[in-house]
């Protein structure tokens, strides 16, 4: 187990290191550095001022120096400064984190709540009408842009029920009910999409397990159907499902980028889009790195969970 954990940790560190190089290079691909952009919006250019600012921000230094300085800052948890808002990026990100986390976990909750039971039902009723209906529904979920689904839901609420989505964000500590109302719809829109993948994996894992000898034994000894399916079979089918839930988490963050924009939720993902549109590159660079860290940590957590759930793994791969 120890060897396995060490190996996973090492891979995570290497991955993040590589990602930092990729992100850093990408940001240098963009036309113009931050100083150009700042001066561009100012309208006039005083070369001396520009040189001064370039020196202050360190963009006149060699790339290697800029890179190592950045990595040092990120490693110390310093997410840099937003030049657009003229304040530390962390001060902008911090109040936005709970919004994104609440949305992500609610969406994950819905996706598991929908995906796992429907996947099991679909497997038990393989090639029957119910299976077809569920499979078509899940494929439909994979085919709709989450942001569009969100818009349609809002439209439906507004037209049919006369309900208006709250324009401003409501904190759960101020008004829990209003907060949940605000988050349930976007979480469902994102979660439905993710549930489709979870359902497909659950279905195929269950189909495999249901053919195993020990399941036949359980049937043969007269075990109740619900018990065989939901306890004996699902337990062993849950391993691939755990993996896909971990992958889903990363996928979900991608989905949030657009969903937060549609539902007007002041989350981290939307701030990334805003920063890109405002060309606030230092913030984009740090936020992207931040997302990579979250994704790698989520994958690491899944790997560890997997090793804990399946004792065979820690001996095999260590």
């Amino acid at each position: 187990m120890r060897g396995y954990v060490t190996k996973r940790l090492l891979i995570a560190v290497v991955t993040l290191f590589g990602m930092s190089i990729v992100i850093f290079s990408l940001m240098r691909l963009a036309p113009g550095n931050i100083v150009d952009i700042l001066f561009e919006s100012a309208g006039y250019v005083d070369q001396a001022d520009k040189k001064q600012l370039e020196r202050e921000l360190g963009v006149d230094r060699p790339l290697a120096v800029q890179y190592s300085r950045w990595v040092g800052e990120v490693a110390r948890g310093d997410l840099g400064k937003s030049y657009r808002y003229d304040m530390p990026a962390w001060r902008i990100i911090k109040p936005r984190l709970p919004v994104t986390l609440e949305l992500a976990f609610l969406a994950l909750f819905f996706s598991i709540l929908l995906g796992v039971p429907f996947g099991v039902l679909s497997a038990v009723r393989q090639d029957r009408p119910l299976d077809y209906v569920l499979r078509v529904l899940s494929l439909a979920g994979l085919s709709m842009p989450a942001f569009w689904l969100g818009m349609i839901i809002i439209l439906f609420f507004v037209r049919a029920l006369g309900w208006m989505p709250s324009i401003t964000y409501v904190s759960p500590f101020v008004d829990l009910k209003a907060n949940l109302w605000q988050f349930t719809v976007p979480a469902l829109a994102v979660g439905y999409r993710s549930s489709a993948l979870i359902m497909r994996i659950t279905r195929s894992a269950m189909l495999e397990v249901l053919r195993e000898d020990y399941i036949r034994t359980a049937w043969a000894k007269g075990q109740r159907g619900t018990l065989v399916v939901w306890r004996h079979a699902l337990k062993n089918a849950s391993l691939p499902v755990i993996t896909v839930v971990g992958i889903e988490f990363a996928f979900l963050i991608g989905g949030l980028v657009v969903t937060e924009t549609v539902f007007n939720l002041p989350g981290v993902a939307r701030y990334l889009v805003d920063a890109i549109l405002l060309r606030d590159y230092p913030v984009v660079q740090n936020l992207t790195m931040f997302i990579a860290v979250v994704v790698v940590l989520a994958n690491l957590a899944v790997d560890l969970l997997y090793a804990w759930a399946d004792p065979r793994i820690k001996y095999e791969k260590a």
Partner: protein
Amino acid sequence: MAQVRALDVVADTQILPIERPRGSALGRFARKKPLGAAGGILVLLLVGTAVLADVLSTHDPVRTSTNVLVAPGADFFLGTDNLGRDLYSRIVHGSRISLLVGLASTIVGTVLGGLIGLISGYAGGKTDLLSQRVMDIMQALPILVLALVLAAALGPSLPNAIVAISIPIVPRAARVIRASVLGIRELTYVESARALGARHVRIALRHILPNTMGPFIVLATAQLGGSILVEAALSFLGLGIPEPYPSWGRMLSIAAAEYAERAPWLVIWPGLAISLAVFGTNLLGDALRDTLDPRLRGS
């Protein structure tokens, strides 16, 4: 009279059905996989619309007019947008953008990833280890986030959008093809080719590559829907296809938010077009996966 009868008999025997699997390969596929066939029809519809866009459209998709926000009716099948452009014609022309960007980025991404997977799987050892790590790194960002950052770094244009969407596909394609190469590499016929003294490049390209076509087609079909969705999302956020190309994703961004209540058709139709196109490729991809490569089922 008797002669005529005899001829009839001859004619009858000639058209007697011969014992063989009924229908063409396509027909059998349709009977066995009705959902896949439905997906195929949707994809054909998409391709047909894209090819015949000029014939099918009733108005100029980019010309503005004073007929602003007209409800769907006889003149404008699906209504008009806030600039008085005919939504139906824009959606018809938008199919070209979706299909072009979707296909191009899928092909670029899967071919590039496939080649990396082929080399990595065939060479093995350190090459494999290194490329695997690089692919891991590329997968550390969600597809949409990586595409978003790429699109931002490259700037908005049609070719740049294609590049931005294809890069995130590369590691995913490399993984699938590598796995399939690893299996094929150990087969006896590859061993015999090696024993005959065939060079590595020849073995990889002539003996292994053709056998990865099954998983490759499955992968590409499945990715096509994903690429269309990413394009829609990028354009929706204003980082994808720039004006004047009518992109389904961007149609949703400009109009939808502001005019949704007054003109719900602006939200409904472009989104439905995206969903149907992606739904079609997904249905087809699923059926192809089951038919061509049972091992990939459910993955």
